[in-house]
Amino acid sequence: MEYFLQQLINGITLGSIYGLIAIGYTMVYGIIGMINFAHGEIFMIGSFIALTVFLALAAIGVTFLPLVLLLMVIVAMVCTAAWGWTIERVAYRPLRGSFRLAPLITAIGMSIFLQNFVQITQGARVKPLPPQIQGGLILMNNPNGIVVQISWMQIIIIAMTIVLMAGFSLLISKTSLGRQQRACEQDRKMASLLGVNVDRTISLTFVIGASLAAVAGMMYLLYYGVIDFYIGFIAGVKAFTAAVLGGIGSLPGAMLGGLAIGLIETFWSGYFSVEYKDVAAFSILAIVLIFMPSGLLGRPEVEKV
């Protein structure tokens, strides 16, 4: 029981990170029907920017932790959002209106480019960050010596995710930008006829997705303590899986899918074998898609005949 609880906490933490990345996939898919394969790399860049900010602040002697974390989050979000905007502008917008596979290929190209760019500029070796936030809350401490604890870091990750998700849901459901975003998702041409600047709305979608991925990147850095230029690939594939599992195009679906993938992975490693955790995650994806082709919360596409 204690073991189960501990795994549950770990799973939710991991799932939060996946969920935040998955939002970026699902939003972009929703609005332009394209899988942005470079999104994993955006996450990786986010964590590198966070690390750079941390080191820069340490170099000038700023060590007050809450301030450091706040600056890390803000700078990472802003800079990564700029990356997201630029990528859309350079690699995807010129190809809008060309055949469907073209932006998919540039997305893969962009992903390779970003990986190599970071490898060359930052070096291929893993970058460590000593743990900054230690300790935690002990929830259960039974005589056999099994301890259930939730670390401060995990609390921060889960809380941060909840706050971001709440803000993001508010943005989508209540603000004019959110309405435009949903309108473009349903009928881009019609939205533009109502005076909606579709290109700008798409750019903002990339910006929002990238800034959420940046937060995920920073939390990954703080949680695991090591990053390298390759982390974007695996995290990206997992988050993409989460988006598909939840129903691609559905925002609550992305979050739910993220949690599901995180939990599956953690429980599988906890009870069976760590080596096969990815196999487990992807098998469950395959099974779910066989029985629910549009994912957990996705709307089935109705084709008019």
């Binding site: 943005l171 949903r182 009928d187 019609m190 600047n197």
Partner: protein, 319 residues
């Protein structure tokens, strides 16, 4: 209630001049010129494939015309000199004390709605089905809202300026919903409305963008007689109370003849008749085009027409 004055020659809001649209070898519109009067309901009619929707697509920026000028004069005192000056300058539009003029063929789609004030609907219904009825109308007012919210940040924080703008937008939407009897369905998904109601919603959604010219592509298609009568009332209300000029494509001659101040008839991409409902109805060319006569007979009919109504056709023609 037909107005007797010829608004389209004296005070045009939209002037289409020498519009030509070719798709490869196919000439969809061939040197078409016409004017739409300010405050008029103007109908664009013609047999299937005459190029009516292509004209709409050019006016609303879907297509770049192969040739021609499409000028929208937002206010009355926009002079011809100002128009020539603008055309020469290569700019898209000018808003000076000489009047606001927009050259629609140079503008891209969302700017035409946002800046010039032209709204349109389609033959098929294109509501945002997953959004509520009210939200559909709010999307159309987003330009006001975006400005008020300081690009969303104010909206997230709920600043007073944004709240006011949001309330005003909601009031406008509710006013329109009341007008078309949809107020009790405001929070339902738009896709759940019956067909006739969806049509009405599309029209008021276009009106929520605050247009000066409203282009409706077959608004009466698929409506039952009672609904078409309601549509007539709505269109007259829009013209009379809101001063919006209406350009519509319609096959339902009951609607066209009853509400139009001005009718333009197209056939094979050319204008074959242009005038008031009474003038167009009795034009032999129009009858020939609608009934489908042989080419030789058309020549005969045209000869007849030139004899009978030659001077009338030129008087109602382009600039």
């Amino acid at each position: 209630m037909l107005k007797q004055n010829r608004n389209w020659t004296d005070n045009p809001i939209l002037s289409v001049e020498h519009l030509t649209m070719r798709f490869g070898g196919l000439v969809a519109i061939d040197d078409l010129s016409f004017d739409v009067g300010r405050g008029d309901i103007t109908a664009l009619i013609g047999p299937n494939g005459a190029g009516k929707t292509t004209v709409f697509n050019c006016v609303t920026g879907f297509y770049k015309p192969t040739e021609g000028r499409i000028a929208l004069r937002r206010d009355q005192h926009a002079t011809d000199e100002a128009l020539h000056e603008l055309t020469r300058s290569g700019r898209q539009y000018s808003e000076t004390d000489k009047g606001s003029i927009f050259l629609l063929e140079r503008m891209t789609d969302f700017r035409i709605t946002e800046v010039a004030g032209v709204a349109r609907t389609f033959q098929n219904i294109r509501l945002f089905g997953g959004m509520t009825v009210l939200e559909n109308l709010l999307v159309a007012q987003h330009n006001k809202l975006m400005r008020a919210s300081g690009l969303t940040i104010g909206g997230l924080l709920g600043l007073p300026g944004y709240r006011r703008a949001a309330d005003a937008a909601k009031d406008t939407a509710i006013e329109w919903l009341r007008r078309v009897d949809l107020l009790d369905r405001a929070d339902d998904p738009a896709a759940d409305l019956p067909y006739g109601a969806q049509r009405r919603l599309e029209i008021v959604r276009a009106l929520c963008t605050d247009p000066v010219l409203l282009c409706l592509d077959e608004p009466a298609a698929g409506l039952n007689p009672r609904e078409s009568t309601e549509l007539n009332t709505l269109l007259k209300y829009i013209r009379d109370e809101h001063g919006v000029s209406v350009l519509l494509i319609e096959h339902d001659m009951g609607v066209v003849m009853e509400i139009s101040d001005h009718i333009i008839v197209l056939d094979y991409g050319k204008k074959i008749s242009d005038g008031t409902a009474a003038a167009v109805r009795s034009d032999p060319k129009v009858i020939a085009a609608y009934l489908g006569v042989d080419d030789e007979e058309v020549d005969d009919v045209e000869r007849d027409l030139n004899v009978k109504t030659g001077h009338d056709a030129t008087a109602g023609g382009s600039l």
